[in-house]
Every structure is written in C-alpha cells, then in structure tokens.
C-alpha cells in the first residue's frame, strides 16, 4: 500500500506514511481496512462514534450568552494512532526514568535542597516560583511519591524522534478520553484491533486505586479513598465521576468533607465517616482556604493541617507544580543526571530561558522562528507561535518579553508529527501529540496507551481542547509482527 495522491505531504513526520510514500508497517492493517470502506461508510461510523459520546455524557460545557451552557463533545477522530512495540518500550523506560527523577527532585526541594546547594538549579528559580509551596517543607510523603498521577506531553519531531514537551505533574486530565476512545475504537475496527494485537489500557482504574491505597498503606490497613471534584460545572467533571465509578469510591465535593481534630470525614447519610486518601482533582490553590487561597469554597478548611499531621493523604501532593514549571523543565536532563546518574532516555525540546540575557537576545532576534510561552500559563494560553503570528503580535510579545523576561521561555517551532484524520469526509493529515499516563505510588507504572490529541485546524500546531483540539485512540502494539487470524469481515465485536 502507498500514500494516495490526494494526501498532502508536509514537512512533518507522518505516522502512517513514510517519506518514500510507503505505508509504515505498523499502519499496514489499518490502511488496508480503510481502503475497503466507502467514504459514506466512514462518515457513518464517525457519526455513530460521536453520538455514542453524546449519549454517555462525555461532554464539556461551553458557557456563552444566557445562563444555560451548551454541552459539546470533544471532537473524536475515527482512526487510531498506532505506535510500534519497540518505540513504546523506549517511551515507557524514558517516562519511568523521568518521573522517578522528578519525584526525588521534589523530595529534595521540599527537604534538604541539595540540588540547589550544589548549584545545579538556581535557587531563585525554585523558591521564587509561584507553584513552590513552602508549607510542604519537611513533610513526609510515602515512597517519595509526590506525583501519583502524571500525564506527560510527548511530541514526535521531523526526524521521527519523541521529545518530552511538558511534564504535567499537578492535576493532569484526559485519561477518561483514553478509555472512552478505546471502547469506541474496539467497536469501530474490531477485526483490525484483534489482528494488530493491541496492549490493553482497561486496567487503569484499578491500578490507580492500588496506587492511591499504597499511599496510606503504612498507617491504615484498608484505607478509604475518595475522589475530590470541584463539582459538576468543572470541564473535566465527566472524568472525575468516571474514575470514581470505575474505582468504586465516593466522588466528593468540598462541601461533603469536614475536618475535626485533624481527621478528615465525609458526610454520609449515617453520620461522618473517616477519609484516608483524597485523589483531588482540585488545584493546590483551592484545596484548603486556611492554607492557600482564602476565597476558595471548593476545598475544605483544615485539610492541609490534617495532611501535615499525617492523618490523610492528598494525591498528587501539593506543590508538585514547582517541578513542571516551564523554566524548570529546561533543567530536567540535569536533574536526571544529578539524582540517577543516567542520561535522559527521552530528550527535552531545546529551550531558551529568557531570564538569561544572552538567551533573551537570541529569542528576540528570532521571534519569527520560535514558540514563546509564559512560564506559569497552561492550556495553550499566553503563547506565541512565531511563524504563524503577525508582525504586530510579535512586536507585542517582544515588549512583554523585555518587560518581564523571567516569565518567558522559547522553543524552536517543531512540526509535530501528523496522523491521518477524517475531516469533512476526506482523509487528511493533522498534527498530533501524545499524552501517556504514569502512576507512581509504591511502584511506577505506565499504562500502555495514551491520549493522542489532534489539532483539527489544518496546519495548526495547537492541540489543546480549549483551543479547538480533538482526540483519537492510541494503540500500542504488543509486538511488531502482525498476527494473522480472523479477517475483518468475519470478525465479531
């Protein structure tokens, strides 16, 4: 099989077609299958897929004029993104290495701060970061597992190598889409799924529960775990409810909790019940009005004291944001070297720290080639994609850079790899990234799958769902030689 003539070739690495035009081996089965389907059949399957998401209520709410928000599904693409076993093996090793190092880093930062004394990471960069929580200083965290759930963003560059673009160590989301996309893909391409031999992702909820329980194992034999959500108006509410349901634990809001004598309770119909582990999907700032933001009503007063007293575990630990700060990111290879004495398996993207005058002048001179990001922002906000920006926008950013260089970093514009997507009935390449999920408690586990986020606008490099991104299922192959067996026609779902 070869690339069809109307599939445009770009600068980027394409996940399905090699530069020569041949179909890559990992996509062979899927490509064959797509060839047998008429455009109308594809459109039909796409519709069924979207409808099933709507029915399940996998939606986020868009607030516009008027009081009632409209619910939308995150656009989901029909075709899975397929990762060969050998590539995944490297990704997995790299992610484990990285998270281990970052957890030790956090333990050090909130402990003796040796890495600062040794001059590897600048003191002001850490202690001056808004995400640094001095309240966490000298606090015992079981297994040094500060980050229990991590959702790193990886990208594949022009030459086909994977890079880590961001470590999301605070409250990463998207795992429910990984699971829902998988369920949908199993129905859409059952035969291809079977033949390809795809690693399962379905164990994520029970592995998450085991991870959370392991955080309280040394002081409570059968800990009560809860998921703490900001509530039904949060855009990721579906995911909070989904994980609580699949783990079989209560989904609580701040108003369901109360703290008494440093013990945390939830209000049940039969009175108060003790809570041991809180998987919180609420940002640090909002978990406890006594310790952090006083105007927050999403958390519960006294929670942080209970945590300090060791009577409850908060997952992820507060203050992990200091290690996924976009400026600290530049130091992660050095951090890995310092603690593990290893070279990084997954490289960083080259990053210019505008806080260094020489790098700032380089950035200012090359604004039209670089992506500039505000250190504190996330979700695709506060960002300049140089090559796609107007001269006026660049001038505006240059002013901001000069005014507050500490707040910015810059990276070369990387053409993210593209994957085939169904767009208005045509198969077209769109830029994608990869967000795998890593769990860390008494051990570190990577789920063999990921959320592939898609920039649905042609040519766009921004995949965030708040900026018009979609998603697709991600298949990790269990070995790189395809199985033979049932063909698609005779395959039952």
């Amino acid at each position: 099989m070869r690339r069809p003539d109307d599939y445009p070739v770009g600068l980027a690495y394409d996940e399905m077609f090699a530069a020569s035009g041949d179909t890559r081996p990992n996509y062979q089965l899927l490509h064959n299958r797509i060839q047998t389907l008429e455009a109308a059949e594809l459109a039909d399957r796409q519709q069924t897929l979207e409808r099933s998401f709507l029915l399940q209520g996998i939606t986020f709410t868009v607030y516009g004029a008027g009081d009632s928000g409209t619910e939308r599904i995150i656009p989901t693409d029909l075709f899975p993104r397929i990762i060969p076993a050998a590539e995944w093996a490297k990704i997995e090793k790299g992610l484990i290495q990285r998270l281990k190092a970052l957890n030790v880093f956090l333990a050090d930062i909130y402990g003796e701060q040796k890495i600062i004394s040794d001059g590897i990471v600048p003191r002001d960069l850490i202690l001056g970061a808004p995400s640094y929580r001095r309240q966490m200083q000298h606090l015992y965290v079981p297994h040094n597992a500060y980050v229990n759930v991590c959702g790193s963003d990886l990208i594949r560059g022009e030459n086909g190598d994977f890079f880590v673009l961001e470590d999301n160590l605070r409250v990463p989301s998207g795992v429910s889409y990984m699971l829902a996309n998988r369920e949908a893909a199993r129905r859409t391409f059952p035969g291809t799924f079977f033949q390809a031999g795809v690693k399962p992702v379905e164990r994520y909820p029970d592995l998450l529960l085991a991870t959370l329980k392991s955080m309280a194992g040394d002081f409570r034999p059968n800990p009560q775990v809860v998921v703490l959500t900001p509530g039904v108006y949060n855009s990721a509410y579906y995911e909070h409810a989904y994980l609580a349901r699949l783990m079989g634990v209560p989904l609580v809001e701040g108003r369901d909790l109360a703290v008494h004598d440093d013990l945390v309770y939830m209000r049940t119909t039969a009175g108060l019940r003790r809570v041991d582990v809180i998987y919180r999907r609420v940002d640090d700032d909002f978990i406890d009005p006594l310790a952090f933001r006083r105007d927050s009503s999403l958390g519960v007063a006294g929670l942080f004291n209970a945590y300090r007293a060791g009577k409850v575990v908060i997952c992820n630990a507060p203050g992990t944001g200091v290690a996924d700060d976009k400026a600290v990111y530049a130091y992660v290879p050095a951090i890995i070297k310092y603690y593990l004495d290893e070279d990084e398996i997954l490289p960083n993207v080259k990053t210019f720290l505008c806080r260094n005058p020489s790098e700032l002048s380089h950035v200012l001179a090359n604004l039209d080639k670089l992506v500039v990001k505000a250190v504190g922002a996330s979700g695709g906000y506060g960002m300049l994609v140089g090559p796609h920006a107007s001269a006026a926008e660049r001038a505006e950013f240059a002013q901001a850079l000069k005014a507050d260089p500490d707040n910015y970093i810059a990276q070369p514009t990387i053409q993210l790899s593209t994957a085939p997507c169904l767009v208005d009935g045509h198969i077209e390449p769109r830029h994608v990234d990869l967000r795998p999920f890593i769990l860390s408690g008494d051990k570190v586990v990577v789920t063999p799958g990921a959320l592939t986020r898609v920039a649905l606008k042609r040519g766009s490099l921004v995949v965030n769902s708040s900026q018009g991104g979609g998603s697709k299922d991600t298949w990790v192959l269990s070995d790189d030689a395809p199985r033979t067996g049932r063909s698609e026609e005779e395959a039952a779902p």
Partner: protein
C-alpha cells in the same frame, strides 16, 4: 452508607422524573379532551387545566398553547423540560452512583426533550411526542429497577418518586373532587379523563367495570392497595423505604419513618364513607401536609444534620 449529598440528589431525581411524567400525562389528556366539541369535553379540559395549575382554566388561553407551555416553558418551575433538566442535572452530580444503563436512559430523554428538534416534533404531533416521553420515563424507571442495586441509594430515589406521587395525586383529586368544579361530576367523558390523568383507566375498569362513579374513582385513587398510583400504595412504599433507611440509626423525634408510618396508618384505617361524610379535602390536605413534613424530616435527618452530633465514636 452513602454520601448525604448523593442521597439527596437521588431523592430529587425520583421527584423530578415523577413530576415530569405526571405533567406530560396531564398535557396529553388535556389535548385529547379538547378534541371533543361537547360540554363534557370542555369540562374535562377545564379539569385538566385546573389540575396543572392553569390560573384561568375557563379563559380563552388556547389549550394547545397551554399544553406546549406546560412542556417547554422554562419559566415555569414545574414544566416537563425543567423537571427533566433538573433530574438530569442531579443525575450528573451522582453519575458515579447510578448505573450507565440508567444514566443513558435519562440523558437520552433529556437530549430529546431539550434538543433543537423538540418543539418542532411537539407542534407536528403533540400526542406522539408526549407518549414517547412517558414511555421513555417508564424505561428509565425500568432500567433503574433492572440494573441498580436495590440498596440505600435506590430507596432514596423511590422515596422521592412515591412522595411526589402522593402529592400529585392528592392535588389532582383535590381539584376534581373538593373544589367548585368537583360538585357532581357525573359525565362519563370527564370521569374517564380523570382516570387517564392518573394512568388509572384500565386498572380501574378491572376492579369496578365500566360503571364510572366519582365515589368509586375517589376510593380507587385514595385507598387501593395494589394500584401503584393510589395514595395508599404510595404511602405504603414511603413507610417501607423509610423504615429501611432509618433502621439501625439513632434518630430522634424527627424520624421521617414515624411520620410516614402515621400517614400510612391513617390511609389504612379510613374508608371512603368517612371521606364522603367529611368531604375529601380534609384527608387530601393532610396527605399534602404530611408529605411536606416527611420531606423536611428527611432533609434534617439524612442530609443537613449538625456535625457535632454525628462524629463516629
């Protein structure tokens, strides 16, 4: 053991779906009755409009528009779409506590009733539209019955259903049999309409045959032990569920199960003769008041209790 907030939401889901079903049925009966261009038809339509709380049932407000408002008016706190939206909003908040099958039924119903096509569907064939909503609500209750554990959460939901039902039916009977319109309803079509509003026509016929009398209808909808929309049936279920929910708990004087037991006993030991002698309004009012009392007591006992009273030992 379940979260207090979750129990409260499940209870409200029960109330809202019951309300949506009842009002859909009233709208449907009203539209049907107006098709007859007789005095009896007009009387039946007026009864229905009084039962939905239309302030001027005799006014010149077009009945079709009245029915459409009853279904779609977002300003009306009890319209069908408002009830469905609230039921679904509550379901979303306890999404982890109800099964996927149950959730999808309610979500589908909500999407259909509030979608862009809904008003068009109503305008082109209102009876069909309403019938589908009622059938979907039955499917929702069936899915809950068939897939949810019949434990505490399910009981909270059913308590909501039966409490709402007792109130709605007593309000309906009040409009029909204790107000000015109720005096001497003897027209066949009007009586049939009343039974239809309580979804009781066929079960009634099997007990009393097609011999329709206001007295029998009152007896059936107040005291029948087996018909699920009689007040007696609803209070018996309230008593049963609240007894289960209160068992093994330290609950003081405000125990909702005591209130439910007392209400149920009153219905057990009253006859239609007593009602005829004293007028229906006395017992119907007391049903409404007791239901309000049970509602309050449940909230104070299970949801909004003072924390210092309930710390574990």
């Amino acid at each position: 053991m379940m979260l207090a907030r979750v129990a409260d939401s499940l209870y409200w889901i029960g109330r809202y779906v019951e309300r949506a079903e009842h009002l859909s049925r009233l709208a449907s009966v009203m539209l049907n009755a107006t098709l007859d261009r007789t005095d009896a038809g007009t009387q039946a339509a007026q009864l229905a409009r009084a039962a939905i709380g239309d302030p001027e049932p005799a006014g010149d407000h077009n009945p079709f528009e009245a029915a459409r408002d009853l279904v779609f008016d977002r300003e009306r706190s009890d319209s069908v779409v408002v009830s469905l939206s609230r039921a679904r909003e509550n379901a979303r908040q306890v999404r982890d506590q109800i099964t996927t099958e149950t959730w999808e039924r309610l979500n589908l119903l909500f999407l259909r009733a509030t979608g862009p096509q809904a008003e068009h569907a109503f305008n082109s064939n209102a009876p069909d539209f309403l019938q589908e909503i009622i059938a979907d609500l039955h499917l929702f209750k069936g899915a809950a019955d068939a897939t949810m554990s019949h434990g505490e959460g399910y009981r909270f939901m059913l308590t909501g259903v039966h409490l709402e039902r007792a109130q709605l039916i007593s309000r309906l009977l009040g409009v029909c049999f204790s107000g000015a319109q109720g005096q001497g309803i003897d027209d066949h079509l009007a009586l049939v309409s009343i039974l239809r509003m309580a979804c009781a026509l066929e079960p009634y016929l099997r007990v009393y045959t097609a011999d329709l009398h206001a007295r029998n209808i009152l007896e059936f909808l107040l005291f029948d032990e087996e018909f699920p929309r009689s007040i007696r049936y609803a209070t018996a279920r309230l008593d049963e569920h609240l007894t289960h929910l209160s068992t093994g708990r330290e609950i003081g004087r405000g125990d909702p199960s005591r209130l439910a037991g007392r209400l149920n006993a009153r219905l057990c030991y009253t006859d239609v003769e007593d009602v005829e002698a004293g007028g229906a309004s006395a017992i119907l009012n007391s049903v409404e008041l007791d239901c309000t009392g049970i509602h309050q007591a449940m909230f104070e006992t299970f949801v909004a209790y003072p924390l210092e009273m309930r710390l574990p030992a």
